[in-house]
Chain length 561, copies 2
């Protein structure tokens, strides 16, 4: 009985547990900033008006807005455990996020999703989930598991599962692939939402994709693309992550009536971004700096997300709504002073006010020791005398070029050996080719973060160092490592599915920086991020050439070379 706790408080016949006195607050219903006392009891806003409480905080000159909601994020991209992620974002005003556990699902399947559900239970940041729709993402790759409609149906009954995650397989939708449409129908039938992923889709094809029930987009990179999608009924998740940044192009959507259909998301965010700039607060700050209507920016960051995902009683400062509140010492610079989750203080002045414990012990085993490469030796990497394709890097891009063939590494020709080693079922499959433009002069760099199947990907100037890197990752259950002359120069263990670490955001960022610097020290080009770049060399859905455990894929021709 939600009203039982708050009715007497709302009426003023009982004091509130907490009152934010004389606060400027965002009224999400009118887009106004009004001034009032905000009474909180039983985890909810009991009243907005004139109230007294057992605890009262003078908020004169400060602003209260609803807690921030990340409408689409792959938590794994932060390389942090869910609890560590919560520790990192709660002080920035994030009170909820909608996660797509796509990465861990590719490694551990349903066990990975179960782990994420368990590990996020009871956090002061509500983590909701969309069930991955495209695992594996391609037939030219080998991942840990295949998820079908049954998985979607099974998880749709979970309390915090809201629907089907980004449908990247838009050809499957447009060509009416039964298995693809079945997943969508299952989610819709269970009352779930279906998120989209269709960069550049337009016109008749976009109509078909949207009409299939796919009602959001976070891939639009231009105002025109986003506007077309919004006009056709998709909620636009304005993405401003660590790598992909679309806010500047899409900020104009926050003006006029279209703001009603805009949300904010990170998609992928690295620990350095969270530590240095923040989370959703960072996006709102930037939007306002770009000239967006502040009320609309805050509404996109809260109420709109709640509306899109049917999160009732969430996203507003109004009676009956959950008291997920952010107190700002300065509104337009989004200076977060205090964060309240269900009415209780979670963070103040950038620091947590209560410990956030890991609670994933139960599921942890199922996502540990996931680097299964079996017996491994340098011999598996031997290419002696063989002609192999050369993939060319394009600075600051994920796309690659066809650079013909080569038969050996070469410092002067900037050619390193690239290997993708299957690590889920110890099949012993190894894909090999050469990579141009990586810059490495000696040693090897390897990581188990290798989209989307997350096998081991290694780049190196000699087989011995590459083999040692693989062994090292096997030993620590996955991670990132730089090796030279038979020595480990730097490493970041990622024991959780080979994707997430046991460190805090700050420590993770420091370790990650050490690993990158070690790679640069071995000559890695400064035009690239030696680890992030490597992690996308195995994603066979981005043109033009990629390497998987099965060999080099001609993405355009949709076939193996």
């Amino acid at each position: 009985m939600k009203q039982k706790r708050i009715l007497p408080v709302a009426l003023g016949s009982e004091p509130a547990e907490l009152v934010l006195k004389n606060a400027e607050y965002l009224n999400v219903f009118t887009g106004e900033f009004l001034t009032a006392d905000i009474a909180v009891s039983g985890g909810r806003v009991a009243g907005v008006g004139s109230y007294r409480g057992k605890a009262e905080i003078d908020c004169t000159g400060k602003t209260v807005v609803p807690g921030f909601i990340d409408s689409h994020i792959h938590l794994e991209s932060s390389m942090l455990s869910p609890a560590a992620f919560a520790r990192a974002v709660a002080p920035h005003g994030t009170t909820a996020a909608v996660a797509d556990p796509h990465e861990i699902a590719n490694v551990c399947g349903e066990n990975g999703i179960q782990y994420m559900l368990r590990a996020t239970r009871g956090l002061p940041v509500d983590i909701f989930f969309m069930i991955p729709s495209c695992v594996p993402c391609s037939q030219f790759d080998e991942n840990g598991c295949t998820l079908g409609t049954e998985t979607v149906r099974r998880f749709m009954t979970e309390e915090r599962v809201l629907g089907l995650a980004e449908m990247m397989n838009y050809p499957g939708v447009l060509f009416e692939d039964p298995a693809t449409l079945e997943k969508i129908d299952c989610a819709l039938a269970e009352g779930g939402m279906v998120d989209g992923h269709a960069p550049g889709l337009t016109g008749a094809q976009l109509n078909a994709y949207v009409g299939a029930g796919i009602t959001s987009d976070h891939e639009a990179t231009s105002y025109g693309e986003a506007l077309e999608k919004l006009r056709l009924g998709q909620w636009i998740m304005i993405r401003e992550g660590t790598a992909a940044r679309n806010l500047e192009a899409l900020a104009p959507l926050l003006d006029g009536d279209s703001f009603r259909r805009c949300l904010l998301c990170c998609d992928d965010v690295h620990p350095g971004t969270l530590v240095g700039d923040g989370h959703i607060d960072r996006i709102v700050r930037r939007a306002i700096a770009l000239g967006a209507n502040p009320a609309h920016a805050f509404i996109a960051a809260s109420f709109n997300a709640a509306q899109r995902f049917g999160l009732s009683d969430t996203g507003a400062v109004a009676p009956g709504y959950f008291a997920d509140l952010v107190l700002l010492s300065d509104r337009d610079s989004v200076a977060v002073e205090a964060v309240y989750k269900r009415g209780s203080l979670v963070a103040r002045d950038g620091a947590l006010t209560k410990e956030i414990a890991e609670n994933s012990a139960a599921g942890r085993k199922a996502v540990s020791g996931t680097v299964r490469v079996g017996e491994f030796s340098a011999a598996k990497l031997d290419t002696h005398g063989r002609q192999l394709p050369v993939i060319g890097l394009v600075p600051h891009e994920l796309i690659t070029t066809d650079e013909g063939f080569a038969c050996e590494v070469s410092a002067e020709n900037d050619l390193v050996k690239l290997a993708v080693i299957e690590r889920h079922k110890a099949t012993g499959h190894v894909g090999l080719c050469f990579l141009k433009g990586y810059g490495l002069k000696s040693g090897a760099v390897a990581t188990t973060v290798a989209h989307d199947s997350h096998n081991v990907i290694a780049a190196g100037m000699n087989d011995a160092d590459m083999a040692l890197a693989v062994e090292r990752l096997k030993a620590c259950g996955g991670g990132m490592v730089v090796v030279d002359g038979g020595e480990v120069k730097a490493e970041l263990p990622l024991p959780i599915a080979g994707l997430m670490c046991d460190l805090g955001a700050q420590e993770a960022e420091i370790a990650l920086t050490r690993v990158k610097d070690a790679a640069y020290a071995l000559g890695a080009s400064h035009d690239i991020d030696p680890l992030m770049t490597l992690s996308f060399m195995s994603l066979p859905v981005i043109p033009h050439r990629k390497l998987t455990t099965l060999g080099v894929v001609d993405v355009d021709a949709f076939k193996l070379i």
Copy 2:
């Protein structure tokens, strides 16, 4: 599989069943009026862009908007059967309505609600229902049935039941009456909405009422009242019915961001209004004439209502949405040219294009013969020599005044006898008093439309004519009748629960006018509607004096005199 039918059409690989070519259409997501072809298949919008179809209609210079939704109406107020109501409103662009069967529930209880559900099945106007929350409306009255939480729970599982209807018992909410809160919790627990009814409620009490989960209002009569309610999170249903008209005061809410939370409703509408002016189209027309942003007015009349009630795929001209469309030959005058329901033509140029059949045979019996007064004679109305209270009418108002006492009718003192005869359980209970200001010089006027319990209410200058009127209503199963000198002068039989007739809107209006004219001919004051005024003389929740079967109620003192 909704997409199966429309995907090939959206892609343009199959012709649409229907294409509205080159139409200006309302984009509810951006508030723009754009021009495109609208392709329809399988009852849904398949695509918005450039399309061809088996049937194509040139809409150059015309406007397409989503079908209109009445967000709160008591269908019984139209005095029409549900099918006749649909016949009357479909040509005006109404494609859905959210009905509160409060009147018939007071007469027939769950049978009445069941009848409404059956009678509305398969109509080209979707009728959704909210379950009445206050039956009976007062302890000082005798109605046909009492509805509790069990009724709410039972009906919440019905497909077209959306929640709990207007919670008029706001004291019950504020004083935490367990039975009242239980109904609310039941509806919320079943995922339903709870509509409000709290005229003038403000401040702390309004916070408590809203916080209890009551998320809409249709009683606000001033801009300030509506704004306060909207700011606290209530959806504002701007009411413009036959009697209560709040549009002029509330139209400013349609400007600015607050338009997102506005809906349109009639609450009560008489056949004359439907025939003469229309339904929701009439409200939109007036709003635009009052200077409202046309896009916002149309959005309030469609998309917003769908949003408030969680009607997915409803209220927009976009792929995947139901093709409930209204074609306007002129936008700002809301000139309805054609109406499409699920893509098929329902009406053109004000006339239905297909018959709308009654389908209520099954439940009809349970709502017939509901005038159960048992043995009745003029003797039951005898007040010889007794002093009885006098209720005073206030022209154009529902409130009444205390006019002391009298012991007989008097033409020169403008005093008629007023009787409320219990008609549900033949208890023989009769409430008697005198009424000042009604104007009648001879004969009697009686009706079974008597809010909210709908007993027989009769006003007359002599007991014999009053008794004959009661007998007449008993004979025809309820209705409205005017009697003089032992002769029936005019009548409108309302055989469905004594509330609704078997006539079309036009015929009903003609019959109703005859009845009113007959009353005026007997001297009824032209400052009042002799039937409507009478029907509110028994509603003991409106100050200051009302008459029920138990006697005169002092509404302010909340007691019987």
